[in-house]
């Protein structure tokens, strides 16, 4: 990472974009407090999060890129574990878990071990786990990876609703359509540096591009995309 600096505000979902290996997940680990930055600080309300990391984590909901879960637990058991680690009282927690699982269409699978879940179902468990304690800050790393179309559409609406509620939302994704439709602001990272940031309109105007896809290609794609695709086919047929 090299001098990465940006701000995420309430009421404005921030999209975090970048190609593979650009440093997105590393930044997110720093923002969530899982990884200490070697230099610089992550500030929340003007205060370094490391000064009260526990208090900061209590306000944080996080969906990691990889759905690492305890696969021998059932979905319901995993969510109860997360809720108890968040110090939520038992009865309301159990009601909330049941309600969330119903809304995410996981009700019938809640007592099946996570090892039997598909990738999308695991992703839904991660999203529910991040929302259980009604956090003020939400960080999503590739949140719709593996979700079916309905669940992805629900998630898109959910992001908008969370933003309206005044939550601070950072969403890292390769799905430019999701970022363009939901995010008010965008940060584009390349080789560990911020190459563009601001509202989506600002970024588009700055690069004179009609779409975010165009901006992204212009800033990040080092090679000609059409040529690369043609070269792949050529090599495949060789």
């Amino acid at each position: 990472m090299n001098d990465v600096s940006f701000t995420v505000r309430p009421h404005a979902v921030c999209g975090y974009l970048g190609p593979n290996g650009s440093g997105k997940s590393t930044t997110i680990k720093m923002i969530t407090g899982l990884l200490p930055p070697s230099t610089g600080t992550v500030l929340y309300n003007g205060q370094d999060i490391r000064e009260d990391l526990v208090g900061y984590k209590a306000m944080l909901g996080f969906v990691p890129e990889e759905p690492h879960l305890y696969s021998y637990l059932t979905g319901w058991e995993y969510l109860r574990l997360t809720g108890e680690l968040r110090c939520l009282p038992s009865a309301p927690l159990e009601r909330k878990i049941d309600g969330m699982l119903r809304l995410f269409a996981l009700d019938s699978y809640k007592h099946a071990p996570i090892s039997s879940y598909s990738k999308g179902m695991r992703q839904k468990i991660l999203i529910v786990a991040a929302l259980l304690h009604n956090p003020q800050i939400l960080i999503f790393d590739e949140p719709i990876s593996g979700l079916d179309i309905t669940a992805a559409l629900i998630f898109r609406e959910l992001l908008a609703d969370l933003s309206r509620e005044g939550k601070i939302v950072l969403c890292s994704s390769h799905e430019l359509a999701l970022v363009e439709s939901v995010c008010a602001e965008v940060v584009i990272l390349h080789h560990g540096k911020v190459v563009a940031s601001g509202s989506i309109d600002e970024v588009r105007q700055l690069r004179h591009m009609p779409s975010l896809e165009g901006v992204f290609s212009d800033l990040v794609a080092s090679e000609n995309i059409e040529n690369t695709a043609a070269n792949i086919v050529e090599l495949m047929e060789a």
């Binding site: 879960l69 038992s90 007592h111």
Partner: protein, 568 residues
Amino acid sequence: MHERHQFGKLARNFFTRFFESDLLAPEADYRATLSQALGLLATPGLFIPLLLMPLLMMNSDAARSWPIKLIFVFLSMLVMGVLSVLEWDALMLDRRDQAILMALPLRPRTIFAAKFWALAKFMAIFSVDVNAGSILLLPPLEMVDKRNAGLLALIRYGGAHAAGTICASAFIFLFVVAVQATLMNLLKPKWFRRISTGVQTLSILSLLAALFFFPAVMEQIPAWKATGSAIFRLFPPVWYVGLCEALQGTADAQFQASARTGLYALAAAGAWAVAAYAMAYGRYTRASLEIPAKAAGRPASVRRERRWGAGDLVGRLMPNPLERATFRFTWKTMRQSPKHRLILAAYVGTGLAIVLEEIVTLSFQGGEAWRQARQMALLSLPLVVSFFLLSGMRFVFNIPSELPANWVFQITERADRGAYLSGVRKCMSLVVVAPLAVVMLPVYALLMGPEIAIVHAAYCSLLSLIMIEALVWGLEKLPFTCSYAPGKLPVVALLCGYWLAFMAYTDFMVLIESRFLGSRVATLIALAMLGGLLWALTAYRKQPPAETTALVFHEEPDPVVRTLDLMA
């Protein structure tokens, strides 16, 4: 040619998959894991002849005697049996293999042949490895007083010993494969997966029990042979001792018959394994790709929890949600993670085997001295069980469970690790101390009267709680959430430590108990002292700054090879 190339690549891949087990060495290069496993498994076969060497050097008749061969055949079967049970999941193609291989243009027969070849290679390598020490060292000891016999005789002795021990290893391996494949044929895949861990656990328990009963068997077996007992004829290690003796030219009809039985048994196990494996293969591999059906209704564990009000009880005993979370996570991991359940079963099996062995041995003795010894042994039984259960739990806490999933603890972490570890202690108490006391009260009331039962239950419970304090003392991490590097402590020192702790916890404490049991005043004083010690330990632990620091999460495995880091 093309198919042969595919076969070679697949066979190699399947062979390396045997070493991906978390129990052996996670994240390690398979060659490093293979050499570590080979070295570890070859050690007993090498060590025992060296231990016996002074005795056997002086007495070649003893070296040639069949009971000595029985030790090595038994050892060979035991080690191979444990290894086969640990590799249970790798014996068939799993879901990951299937998902990858089915997308490739491979004939099912190529995959089957490669998998079977890998199994055969695994069996051959480890059979030779486990027995290599005794094959190399025992025959020269047998020939010490026959210096004129020549190299041919030495090779003949060595060959006979190798045939006996390797056939014994092969028999047990094929037997495990046959049992697994038969279960696959008989049961639906869902049920097979469910009972697999149970069968593994039971097998480990049986093998460990066999280990502890072996000295008693060794004492009795000459008599069984002399009387022509059926136990002698049906004891599998005897078959392969018979094979060894027959190949060395014995005229003993019993051993010749045993050798024939051993060969028939090996052929039968082989045929059974191949037939059952081939039948199960297609059925199981098809099923392994199907997503398991969703759970219909609540599973049994949830129903039990609701019916018995276990959730409410946990809530009342542990008002702090962090305690509840750690308690449930610890309990569920030990109960539902096959790997952890298997290791814990090995500890429990050792404890139960010691208990059974003591009961059986003392049951056959008479006289006043034996009556007293029996009473002491009887008093020590709950402590033996509690020692192995608690130390087993403490050991499995070190073994990670799905390490990358520990982020959930890191992201929700609180400053004080006291509440987390309190959940761990309560889990150990509720899983071990409480059930043990409940079982002890009626049993000892029946055997020794109600007063002794109450005192003994209180004494054992207090000792167990003190042991829990000692085991969790200084723990900085949550169970199952850190990487584990085996071999940090020398094995000999570790075993000596275990033995000393075991003797102090069981025999010494029972000796003290037997002194105060006659006097009510002395009993009250002893219990009060133990209670006071427990209270002092708890109070000291709760004092700041102890356990007010954050949890530790080690995530990187130790390197297989340590360097001096001279390049840094």
